[in-house]
Symmetry: C2
Subunit: 507 residues, 2 copies
């Protein structure tokens, strides 16, 4: 009966997200803040659901896991030990003229060639510039040709600034001639700020670039307080910050983001099997929440991608509109982190194995995922446009988010057939009963416009169930439950409504 | 039968929090980071419960409220408009010698007086220094006397550096003589950092010092997406940061903290009544979650404390171990914020009143509370030490956290009478059934030590219910539920266990 179109493109998703209140540009009335996003009334519920489901599954439903919530600000030496101060860098060249800092491999370089085919010099531009439309680029090429005493002939695409001596590349930003770009230097991706009023080096702290280190430094405290036995894990959800040079693809790569991370500690000989289990577990988490298996893949890192201490890392990838992209990572990190912190602080960070009577440093498996990326994937994968017969031989398009009920921001919408004073009291009663029934999420009431339009509005935001109150309801004490995906309707007694709704929502 | 002692002092609370895994000092193995705290396995659950209960009550159970989750990083102009760039300041004096920056009213100043009663000069110290024990202070006083050609006689306490010309006050930090402290200047309490690689003024951004502004700047977006009618509110939970000069009292005042804020928009003429309702509502929130009414009070701000635009502000205060302290604030802010952002951006930020056919700027009531302060109050208020008969005419002390069940980090503990292979299978079954029953929170299993000690361990962390599996259970398919506060025990069929537990936990 219905036909399903392929998934949504990015700009349509962004438009839907803004229109329906999932995601707004941060500080939009001030012109926005680059690659920063706010989560609106529906977005915040979806985000909460993702985090709560992850917590329930990984903490509450396991007996080998406890939670943690470490502060964003940590002792700066933590990031020296972790390697982030030394190694968490991008190489950047700086223009002496305009002070722009740019990654050389993001600077597109083209040769300017005379009509006789003679190479006259280079011009450059950054990726965002549309070369064929750019008057500015043409002027730069003319200037290069003129300086060589020639007329501009044509462009010859050649690569990026990383392929040339930087001294030969003009500034892509302001057009300053070759010689103005400095040798690339490493730029640390951690945001820094100062604790207290003095901006001195010894007061500098970082916004954590990952939540993981908060777990490692608390290993002893957690072990002492909980008396957990290996294998056990510590789970954490929280914000992290990276001063990325390249952001974009909506909420895919942003400077402020939220992570859900686990450090799962095992005896060294269990490292390999635990790693493989967690890779499967991470993949299944998405599948169990409705993401189509064919849109996911496991990509083990090549040996040259691996950190020197890692015995294996796999990404869970999703087929985004622009291709495969990372969604989660699972890393087998050996005893590197605990030993590094132990060496740096002089604190013993070991576990006493009662079987062998030995103090051992556990190995650790680190499953890590981004909340925003998960949210984006759930939206992308749930989005459907369906052609439906609309009578008279015509068809209409139904937009429906086929979100797993546990993810849906609105669980139930209560819809009187029409805005009518006879229906109002019962509709209101039904709404209040459902809203206070302990259903884990939002319940909406809507009595505007036609019932058909209201169903479409709820379909578009993924509401699994609508409850319709009609004039028969006043007589038969029954209401209609309408199911989002099948659009099937069933009549139930109002007394049985809450139980029926909970059953259909899965608990 | 039992007798209750007064509440816990701060250092005992901190010790309990560390020992049982509620709260650890941040980066403790690195010597800690000043006034920054991490929430351990129990603390993170308590914190989650507080936030979830607040969200459920204020968002899900109301039909006049929606949620929001704005980013921590916002456009810097937001903080110009809000007044935080200009006015969110502490006055600080700086020592030219050691570069310490200190609030003048935190510098204690004493006169050095010769034995003949002649004033010889001033010495200073900061509050943390214990004057009578300080050899250093004595040496400083000797130096002052010597410079005046006299022998030191005695101290005469006089006040703080705010009471003297700053040029007469020596540095309390390094002891540099009078004349080294600069005139106090204002120091902004917002943390700043830089977006992107260039540390230029126009790339400076702030870590938000409050969540409220994220709501105001999204007013139009939320209104358009949700089509809400006045009165309605927008609720938000999230981190905020203040570079406080004075921190302390455990988690009471920290530089990184979490807020639960509402901006409740009303027609101007409803401002006063909505304000009064929200003050009551905030107070009741704590009472309904078990905080004793006599430990709470409402303190309306004096007219001179009020912001110029506010028509009324009240704090909800709690009787902390050091006296009354702020727990929540409710402010009636008129149309100040929306108008300020509208003026700054040129965007219309009004609401169309369908009754009067007018575009109006709503008034706003702002109930605001801190998650960590709420957590601290719930712990303080729940803490009890009870003297209980221990047989033989002796008594023992039972520590019990009388937390509201909805707040308790562990909802149910499953305890086999002893660690025994006969009891193990059934105990394990019971544990798994309870853990996966949909109870909203953690369920623990503990088979170590004596049953009495395990009850005490659960009492100390506020677990409302223990389920004991004993040898009779193998025969009668029943287990014992033991209630934390009354210590009463009832026998229930394992088939009825989940229902009984849920009933006792309140749904």
């Amino acid at each position: 009966m219905t036909q399903t179109k392929p998934s949504i493109d990015l700009s349509s998703l962004m438009s839907l997200c803004k229109r329906r209140g999932f995601i707004f540009q941060s500080s939009e009335i001030y012109g926005g803040l680059a690659s920063t996003w706010d989560y609106g009334p529906l977005g915040v519920e979806l985000k909460r659901n993702i985090k709560d489901l992850w917590w329930r599954k990984n903490v509450w439903e396991r007996d080998d896991m406890v939670g943690l919530d470490a502060a964003i600000l940590m002792h700066p030496q933590v990031w020296v030990t972790s390697g982030h101060v030394a190694n968490f860098n991008d190489p950047l060249t700086e223009c002496k003229s305009c002070n722009a800092r740019i990654r050389p491999d993001h600077i597109k370089v083209i040769k300017v060639v005379s009509s006789e085919g003679q190479e006259l010099g280079l011009v450059s531009y950054n990726g965002a510039m549309a070369i064929t439309e750019s008057k500015e680029l043409r002027e730069r090429a003319d200037a290069v040709a003129k300086a060589a005493g020639q007329k501009f002939g044509k462009y010859e695409e050649t690569g990026t600034a990383a392929d040339f001596p930087i001294a030969q590349v003009p500034c892509p930003q302001c057009g300053a001639k070759a010689g103005n770009l400095t040798e690339p230097r490493l730029f640390n991706l951690m945001f820094d700020t100062y604790l207290g009023p003095v901006k001195a080096e010894d007061k500098k702290v970082f916004l954590r670039p990952e939540t993981a280190q908060g777990i490692f430094v608390n290993f002893n405290n957690v072990l002492t307080a909980t008396r957990k036995k290996l294998p056990f894990g510590i789970a954490q959800v929280g914000k992290a910050f990276r001063n990325e040079i390249t952001t974009g693809n909506f909420i895919f790569r942003t400077r402020e983001f939220e992570q859900m991370e686990i450090e799962y500690f095992v005896k060294p000989q269990q490292g390999e099997s635990a790693y493989l289990e967690w890779v499967e577990d991470c993949l299944n988490w998405y599948c169990n929440l409705g993401v189509k298996r064919e849109n996911l893949r496991i990509r083990p890192h090549d040996p040259e991608e691996l950190s020197h201490y890692s015995t294996g890392t796999s990404d869970i990838e999703y087929m985004f509109p622009w291709g495969w992209g990372e969604l989660s990572g699972v890393a087998s990190r050996t005893d590197f982190d605990l030993k590094a912190h132990s060496n740096a602080t002089g604190q013993t960070m070991t576990y006493f194995d009662e079987e062998t009577k030995e103090h051992i440093t556990p190995y650790v498996i680190e499953p890590s995922m981004g909340v925003e990326r998960a949210l984006m994937v759930f939206l992308l994968d749930a989005y459907n446009e369906e052609e439906m017969p609309a009578g008279g031989g015509k068809s209409e398009t139904r937009i429906v988010l086929r979100l797993h009920p546990a993810l849906a921001p609105v669980k139930v919408a209560v819809l009187p057939l029409s805005r009518n004073e006879k229906l109002a009291p019962l509709s209101s009663d039904v709404f209040n009963i459902v809203r206070r029934s302990g259903i884990n999420g939002m319940v909406q009431f809507d009595d505007s416009q036609s019932i058909g339009r209201r169903y479409r509005r709820q379909d578009e935001i993924g509401t699994p169930l609508c409850v319709t109150v009609d004039f028969d309801s006043l007589e038969d004490k029954s209401v209609t439950i309408r199911e989002r995906d099948s659009m099937q309707q069933v009549r139930v007694k109002t007394d049985d409504l809450v139980g029926e709704l909970k059953k259909r929502l899965g608990g």
